[in-house]
Amino acid sequence: MRPEFYKVLASPVLWGILILAAPLPFLLPSYYLHIVILSLVYVALASSWNIVGGMAGQISLAHSLFIGTGAMLSTALLLKLGINMWVGLLISAAISAMLAAMIAWIDYRFRLGHLSFVLITLAFAEMGGLVVEGWDFLGGASGLLLPRDTGHFLDFQFGGSHGAFWVMLLLAVVCVLVNVAILNAPLGYYLRTIRDNENAARAIGVNVLRYKVAAMVISAVLASIVGTAYVRYLTFADPYLLISPVITIEIVLFATVGGLGSAFGPALGALLLVPLGEILRGQLGGVLPGLHYFIYGIVVIAVILITPQGLLPLFERLWKRRPGAAATRPPTVAP
């Protein structure tokens, strides 16, 4: 670990944001609190995807598999077998890790090209969704309903949206910090080498299989844990939301628009686009069905055309040009 990681960990900006954010549940009306929680969920998910998609350059569309395992399996274990959800969280995370290792191994063993990897992971995600729909243990097509959240911490209950906010804040910060840590650790350098030129990486002795598996497993475990926490907040385990490729597509969108491969880009993308989508839905959802998504799509296209390299590089350039900017060191936290 290089000193940059500890610098971020000790950065007053990080702790400032956390201290300012902590009392939010007491200040915000429940509708806005819901938007903030959703944004944090996607910050965590986009950051977890970034480890595989951004740093290792492996555009995996199998992320819904891990979110779905974390959400549907832990719920099913609780409802059908009475297994405590904390234990369910660990079991689902372990299964997600195994699935992830298998996918990474297949990618390595069969030397898949970029597009083949995209499509194979998409095929796995579609198959996962179909399995959940067809298997009553996991809720089938109608989903599963968790018992009401009464705030028993030992039962993985956090007392409604206030508790959910803190849990999600914690998970989002952890996911972003894992990104920072990996970027500054040897693993991050290996992953970027693999992304930029896999054959060259192999030639200089990088153990490609080991680091691909490591990236995929870390990413999957984080996604699975976030999935379990997310379903606890939603109380309804909806297969069409949680294990559909659409959720992966959204995550990839946030990560890409924010700035792929950087530690804060995906978080930035989610923090801007999720509230935009939700507010558009709130304002226009009742006016004409489809209108809010229509405008959202136009905004996405416009943002991409204006900043084809992602939002974070744009912010960094603006930050450097601010009056009285110090030397050329890039900022560690996006403004």
Partner: protein, 288 residues
Amino acid sequence: MAEFLQALTQGLLIGSTYGLLALGMGLVYGVSGVVNFAHGDFIALGMFMCLALYSALSLDPYVSIIITVPVMMGIGALVYRYLLRPMVGYKFLMIVQLTLGLSLVLQNGILMVFGGQPARTPSAVESKLWILGEVVMRVPHVIAFVVSFALAIGLYVMLRSTDFGRSIRAVHQNAHAASLMGIDVGRVQVLTFALGIGILAIAAALLLPGTPIQPTMGLRYTVITLLVVVLGGMTNFVGIMLGGLVIGISEAFGTIYLSDILGMLLPYGIFVLIMLFRPQGLTWGAAR
């Protein structure tokens, strides 16, 4: 045995149209490296245009092609010129995201105009059947099969022996060298994209009879098209048509022989298996 033949025929018939859908995407990918995730939504757009023409002028879907093809080609040319061309040279994933934004716009534009209820567009041949021994074929499927292969052959001949076709192949092989030979690469890319979208207008009319249509149906067609293109080795003509048949047949066998969910799993499972053992696609030898 009758069941087997029935599944095989049905798969071949529907698979040929999947192949046609994928040819458009393969052509565009070969020339400009763009993978269009709004592909299926353009098909949905074509279908809803047929629906509009039927309700306004009571045109049969097969006749409305005369209007939908030029309109869709125009839309395709504009989309490439003003949305995709400025992205040349940026990350592949960014271009994919842009087409996903486009997919949102198309899908919800259709939803705003036509509403969300499933709709049908009747055609004169819709309920006609063609019975051959023990095998029952729906006439629209037979038409789709014949037209798809005719178009595929037409495209192949066009690529081999017209100037435009040669310029497409030149840009595919080496865009820089092609531009040095006096080929306007940008123009070829715009025209190819327009051609790809125009093919979708025809495919939409072929798939339409008997299919209930919904604004959200696009993603499914995008996924099928992607599977077929990748199976076919991205730009290999024969491979792509073959890929279409493989996916069509596995879908048909899945629905006839297996239960609901297992049947839907089959095409994906077969795709994964083929990709693992033939990652370069279905055909042997070099592309084109």
